[in-house]
């Protein structure tokens, strides 16, 4: 469903993403881990077509992000780190606008909006102005925005950041639910970026760890925690080793 080949993003001398390749099959739910500044957001922005990679390319649902950018973008539901909301619009109007931007045919738009409102638990607030909603509800609207066109691929960038524990639990179970079957009867393929490890254990079946722009780990979650190690240990080990390696070289 997602094929990334040698994705690289350079900003001058800084390499934000360094030769990252992966393949995600339909229905997989992948936890995309890494410390802050590891290149998670940049990778997601490349996949969603917001930024072009310096090198490499990606296929989204069979569409190349360079050759068929519009088709590739139509196949993605994307929740950026800060949900892209218009504070002056009401929830329903906003979702209808997004549905239109995402090429949902006019006749199916009402139904698509109603379904997104239902799935994200927004029924009580669908006439409210977004600017007047609490942070948890805004995050829900952000999720509703990502699924309104029932895309095969969902890319969620730190969806629970800045929420209180109850809201985190709600959003998390919502994502777990969304990772299930879609309208079109095939499940969503989900990439979820986070640095909250329990979140990964709760939702994801596969873990991809990125550190200093490089992919350092890519394995099924079950394999990783089989021998009793915690995800936290694994995370610490992989991010630490990479950081110390250049120092060790310099010393020898």
């Amino acid at each position: 469903m997602i094929e990334a080949q040698g994705l690289t993003k350079r900003y001058g001398d800084l390499v934000a993403v360094d030769d990252v390749s992966f393949s995600i099959s339909p229905g997989e739910v992948v936890g995309f881990l890494g410390p802050n500044g590891a290149g998670k957001t940049t990778t997601m922005r490349i996949l969603t077509g917001f930024l072009p990679p310096t090198d490499g390319t990606a296929l989204i649902a069979g569409h190349d992000i360079f050759r068929e950018p519009l088709a590739a973008r139509a196949a993605i539901g994307y929740l950026p780190e800060s949900p892209p909301l218009y504070p002056e619009m009401d929830v329903r109007g906003y979702l209808a606008y997004v549905a239109c931007l995402k090429n949902v045919p006019r006749r199916q738009r009402r139904e698509a909006v109603a379904r997104a409102i239902e799935r994200c638990g927004l029924r009580d607030v669908h006439r409210r102005v977004i600017g007047a909603l609490s942070k948890g509800f805004r995050q829900r609207v952000g999720l509703a925005q990502a699924i309104v066109h029932d895309p095969p691929v969902l890319i969620l960038d730190e969806p629970t950041v800045g929420l209180d524990p109850i809201q985190i639990r709600e959003i998390r179970s919502l994502i777990a639910e969304l990772a299930g079957p879609r309208q079109a009867e095939s499940p969503h393929t989900v990439i979820l970026s986070t640095h909250i490890l329990p979140e990964v254990e709760a939702i994801c079946r596969r873990v991809m760890l990125i550190h200093q722009g490089r992919k350092v780990l890519d394995a099924p979650l079950a394999d990783l925690i089989r021998d009793g190690r915690s995800l936290e240990e694994i995370f610490a080990r992989h991010t630490a080793r990479e950081a110390e390696a250049p120092a060790a070289e310099a010393a020898s």
Binding site: G49, F50, P84, E88, Y97, Q145
Partner: protein
């Protein structure tokens, strides 16, 4: 272009839930009323004087178009110069500040659909403003007999000037995420463009500045007030129409490049 209208209508709706649209409309209506009234009073006073001094030749030349409508349109074009940046400042800057730019650039819509949609919203608002202006000469048609063609040409001029200003304002909004910066950048650009013909006249009077090199002519050609002046005098020339088309096209192209530039970094 199927996303153009949704983008434009969303923009207009946002404009009308914010106080900006109403502030601009109110200010515009008040200023238009004031300047129209003052043009009429001046006209009255002038015609009264001419009668008093029995200058019948001059009195015969006196007409509503040249002495009321043209000066009124002239001053309204200056009012537009102040107010249109207020309408356009949020077009792109607000999207960046909101983070909604990320939604737009990851949605399956082309940059032209976005830029033209935004411009269309501003253009419709400008049309509303020009329609407001048209009401005042409309009154003159009830109580007097101004020339329809000349008045129409003047209104067309005002509309074209407004559209050019909107395109320039859209560009200013596309290069920053601060609406305040967008406002002042647009305002300065418009002011410079408007004053270029005065600069050229200054050169002509002094004789030294760009004399004989055609620079003066070029500056005059660049200036919006020059082309607007022709239309207000009732002169509809394709050269002037082309000028406005070039200005709108150029600045929309620049705006598109500026929106796209987030991808270059």
């Amino acid at each position: 272009m199927r996303h153009t209208w949704p983008v434009a209508s969303r923009e207009l709706r946002s404009l009308f839930v914010s106080p900006v649209a109403y502030a601009v409309l109110t200010l515009f209506a008040v200023l238009a009323g004031f300047f129209f009234l003052s043009a009429i009073l001046q006209f009255n006073e002038y015609s009264f004087r001419l009668q008093q001094f029995q200058l019948f030749d001059r009195l015969r030349e006196l007409n509503l178009n040249d002495h009321v409508i043209a000066p009124f349109f002239d001053v309204m074009s200056v009012v537009l110069l102040f107010l249109i940046p207020g309408i356009t400042m949020g077009l792109f800057a607000a999207e960046k500040a909101n983070g909604t730019q990320e939604l737009l650039l990851t949605s399956p819509l082309t940059l032209w659909e976005l830029v033209i949609g935004k411009f269309l919203a501003a253009a419709l608002f400008v049309t509303l403003l020009v329609a407001l202006v048209a009401l005042f000469p409309g009154l003159l048609f009830v109580y007097g007999d101004p020339e329809l063609g000349k008045t129409g040409a003047g209104l067309l001029g005002l509309l074209l000037v407004g559209l050019a200003y909107a395109a320039i304002g859209a560009f200013a909004s596309s290069v920053t995420q601060s609406q305040l910066v967008a406002f002042f950048l647009a305002f300065v650009l418009l002011l410079v463009l408007w004053m270029l013909s005065f600069l050229a006249d200054l050169g002509a009077a002094g004789g030294s500045f760009g004399a004989g090199t055609g620079i003066g002519d070029f500056l005059r050609w660049l200036s919006t007030s020059e082309h607007f002046g022709n239309l207000v005098r009732g002169l509809v020339d394709t050269a002037d129409l082309a000028y406005f088309a070039v200005v709108v096209g150029t600045f929309l192209l620049l705006a598109k490049a500026a929106v796209e530039s987030v991808r270059w970094r």
